[in-house]
Subunit: 200 residues, 2 copies
Amino acid sequence: MTKRQENAKKTKLKLVKTALELFKDTGFYDINVEDITKKAGVSKGTFYTYFKRKEDIVLEISRAPFSEIAEELDLMKDKDIIEKLTYYFRRFMECVEFSGIHICRQWTRDVLDPNNVPENKDSQKWDYDFEMLRTILENAVLGKELKSDTPIELLTHIFICELYGMMTCWCMSDGKFEPLQWTEQFCNMQLENILKPYLT
Amino acid sequence: MTKRQENAKKTKLKLVKTALELFKDTGFYDINVEDITKKAGVSKGTFYTYFKRKEDIVLEISRAPFSEIAEELDLMKDKDIIEKLTYYFRRFMECVEFSGIHICRQWTRDVLDPNNVPENKDSQKWDYDFEMLRTILENAVLGKELKSDTPIELLTHIFICELYGMMTCWCMSDGKFEPLQWTEQFCNMQLENILKPYLT
DNA sequence: TACGGTCAATGACTTCGGGTCAATAAAAAA
DNA sequence: TTTTTTATTGACCCGAAGTCATTGACCGTA
């Protein structure tokens, strides 16, 4: 990697970190692009060499922790499916809570923004979550925990709705309930119920 | 009602109807306030005598059908709770589908918009749904369908998450699944499971 | 080390649509 | 009739997102 590329990487990182801080404290709409670039010590134009739109930086920020979760799940191979799902739900909500209400709200709004089009039109905003949950279910089928006729796509879809529903409600409520506690409660009450017909 | 008040009412209605049409066809961001007022045959300023922000008209539009639902539920007094809930879920999703993906998406974005503050800070964006669902559950307790120690608030909250989760996912998927079919499936699979511990 | 090409960085400038407001006219009240 | 109220108007303002021609530091090559 050349010096130039290194500097470019640093600049981008600086922008992401600065934006993260500012958004977290003050909210997305009360911070404009120049606030970010000034604090990061670069010019406005530089922002746009790294991001097409102001909104893009939020998407950049928010998906970062999810690669960790994938690794953590790999270490849980011998645990049963309920534990794995419970873990995923908890980690998802931890990320939601950690990123804070401002960023989480903006992320959701970005994902719903018609101007924010995915690169290829078949991809979904929840692809990442979808893949992870599906992997958990598929492994459970392979490991004979779940029957072979389990409707994996359907169940995955249900779980996605649960996760995004909780997240949306949390944002709508302006953070008035505890997302983690809430998730725990859901997992205890519902996961087993949903899976029961398919458990071997 | 004086002539002036009548005209004002007509003007506002005209704006709402025109905006509804335009948003439904073309989407919220591709229509600006002048498009609406021009087509409605009034001036731009008039828009702002009736709505504080461009976004407000979407909130105005979207909640209209819900007073009907309340009436319809009143006529179902003798039905059991599962039927009532299934009915509410279906009607909710019918409204979602009918309003169309553009408006539904924008409604969700508005509700998540930090600039869009509720009149009093204790009120929630889902108050309307919350009240209706709670009423259904409360009546079921009064009618001895549900045990008296049923955690009504918790269950209501769960149902809200389900509804908003489905809606959010539908918008995110850009309308790629059938919300009604999806709801039906959910109700058949889950409603009974969720309520089972509390049924008498 | 000289030199042409590349690319990150700059910041003045453009664009654009949301929102304002003083003036107007028509209706209601006095 | 006079005064007050209020819906309407549209030119104007504003502010922030996003653009782009220009610069100069860095890169590979000879």
